[in-house]
Symmetry: C2
Subunit: 388 residues, 2 copies
């Protein structure tokens, strides 16, 4: 079943961009319109994601601002914020809007600036990032997101025997994939030794187990199934599940389950009428190497506890059973918070069109994106397929 | 035509609340559930608005957080931010969700803390509020929102002869209405003399022309038309228009038109199949007395230029042709930014149920809410009617 189709995509290089949020978004949005072959006047609504702009640049009410700058200032425009899952929630609502005949052609995307170009130093930016953690029970302890995911990963190591070397294999794989992505923040290879020798951030994560924070924008043009055939190269959205779990971590029934992702995956697979085994490749939210382990298990690509060994065996690399993060993932491609979700949609679209160059998965029919927010309190799973 | 129905509402007193955002939201949400007669387990999704929490309390990713605290942590939860129109955008999406069969029963609402209980003093809070103004072209000039609306109001005075006394009449009327609202931030009468003698904030606005910023929460339970009859006292949402205008003010074709409101009103009237003349009362976004003048004109209740004289003649007071802000409006009831939009929905619901006590409009059939964001860059118009 098709819910909606993506008919155009665009994204900036992820890295450092010292231009305004509106300018940066336009550098993704206008190429997406060009890719779709639609003009500004054809766009009926904007679904927009940004996470940190209020805190980093005193810039809120961004939806009308970026709509004005991009040249369609009088269409309904709305901003979403759901931590690192921000722009996939915008995408969910964009898909629902065209699916239900509310709009015919919508632009969806996100933008973020997280590097020191905002004028904010690392300690202050660390305080801002942790705003997504529980304000009363987690922030006062001094925990940060590397700490949150380290707690979950340490427990996984204890429970299943996952090793630091297996985690490092994920970093090496994603950096290898990223060397083929010209828009990656860090498009260079690394090695197991380099990962394990990099500074310890929080046990068990070394610096090279952690994704960077990046500046970037991403965008997609979404139309209804009914309109899709009038565009070149539409790619269908077949499933889109949204799960929410309890916050803080201590309230979760089983932190290793990342239950929001399981709920989201179940909904997406059910909508698409597929099983995990039918997915040809995926983009998952590897903010830390340990998060990729948890994601591959929650999505059903491997059994619980097998995420580490599967990566170490090469099963999740390009050419493996289920290539994970052919784009390089958050780890190598980068993580501009509010732009990350729709950037995954960009990668799925390009892969399913066989336009991914040297990082192309072999003739994929079904792709999946997994985007989480906060301490896994929000999760979205999207399945996309070649148009029949 | 009915798009959806509101079957339960709740709100806190607006004023000063030194509890957490999640606690404050629960004090609106749980009464809304009780009013609807639904349990936590009956709610399928949360549509939530908050504007400033990241900047004032370093608290983002609030949708899962407030869902957890309110007792339904595993339903899809999303946060909207569109400046002062934040929770009406959440309401728009809640209405669309039930209208299109995505969910059966949804909770929608918003919360904000703007008073010094956040630990932030007035100059710093002023900087935070102005984040909704254009970051590149307006903020560097030092303009604040009183200044933005003063510019528009001065031009209205020049073009139409609107007077400071007419503006003061609006403050007096809304404070008089507010004396009948036990949840109003400032539920006491004022006088023309007191308004004109209050300190000048920015010409032509005296302190008493400006709404306060408040702490508060508001919430509503929304169900589809199909389900509404199984609830006591449903009130129908018949129209919901969303308009966006160019930002900054200098880009707008005609600042006095507040075009986003005109676009939103046209869409709402068209959906509801009514004209402005059929509306029995309204809640409008009177962040400043001048904003109420512009709103009554944009909504078609009076001719352009007649907003001031209409107020001075008592046409917009309780008992007049078209009572405006029977709740006291933002001016007297208060303005907890992200809670203001759904608080208007609460007032419409209570009025249409004839449950508004001493501020009750006489047997209303049709109510309208007008909520704007930023420099009028976002606007929402909602029409609600007694269920046939």
């Amino acid at each position: 079943m098709t819910r909606a189709s993506v008919v155009g995509v665009g994204m900036t290089k992820f890295g450092t961009h010292d231009i305004t949020l509106a300018e940066l978004f336009a550098e993704a949005a206008l190429p997406a319109l060009d890719d779709a072959g639609v003009g500004r006047g054809d766009v009926d609504a904007l679904y927009f994601g940004n996470t940190l702009g209020g805190m980093t640049e005193n810039d809120t009410h961004l939806a009308p601002k970026v709509a004005t700058h991009t040249g369609f200032g009088r269409i309904p425009a709305q901003r979403f914020e759901d931590a690192c899952a921000t722009s996939t929630n915008a995408f969910k609502h964009a898909v629902q809007a065209v699916e239900n005949g509310i709009h015919d052609v919508v632009l969806v995307g996100g933008v973020e600036k997280c590097t020191p170009v905002t004028g904010i130093d690392t300690p202050e930016m660390t305080r801002i990032f942790v705003s997504a953690a529980d304000r009363q029970y987690e922030q006062p302890t001094g925990i940060t997101f590397p700490g949150v995911f380290a707690l979950m990963t340490k427990r996984h190591m204890e429970q299943y025997g996952t090793t630091e070397e297996q985690l490092a294999e994920i970093a090496v794989k994603n950096h290898a994939h990223g060397t083929h992505n010209p828009r990656a923040h860090f498009g260079k290879d690394t090695s197991i030794e380099a990962v394990l020798d990099s500074p310890l951030v929080v046990d068990p994560f070394h610096l090279m187990d952690c994704c960077p924070f990046s500046d970037g924008g991403s965008a997609a043009v979404v139309v209804s199934d009914e309109y899709a055939d009038s565009f070149d190269a539409p790619v269908d959205v077949t499933g889109l599940g949204h799960g929410t779990d309890l916050v803080p971590v201590s309230d979760k029934a089983d932190p290793l389950a990342t239950q929001a992702a399981r709920d989201a995956a179940e909904r997406a697979y059910d909508q698409a009428g597929i099983t995990a085994g039918e997915v040809d490749f995926c983009e998952v939210h590897d903010c830390f190497t340990g998060a990729e382990v948890l994601a591959t298990e929650a999505l059903g690509f491997v059994e619980d506890g097998e995420g580490g060994p599967a990566a170490a065996a090469g099963r999740t690399a390009l050419g493996g059973d289920i290539p994970v993060n052919p784009s390089g993932g958050l780890k190598a491609k980068g993580h501009p918070i509010g732009a990350t979700g729709t950037a995954q949609i960009v990668e799925l679209t390009e892969q399913l069109r066989d336009e991914a160059g040297d990082r192309q998965v072999e003739s994929p029919s079904v792709g999946l994106a997994h985007n989480l927010g906060g301490d896994t309190g929000s999760a979205f799973v999207t399945t996309m397929e070649e148009r029949a």
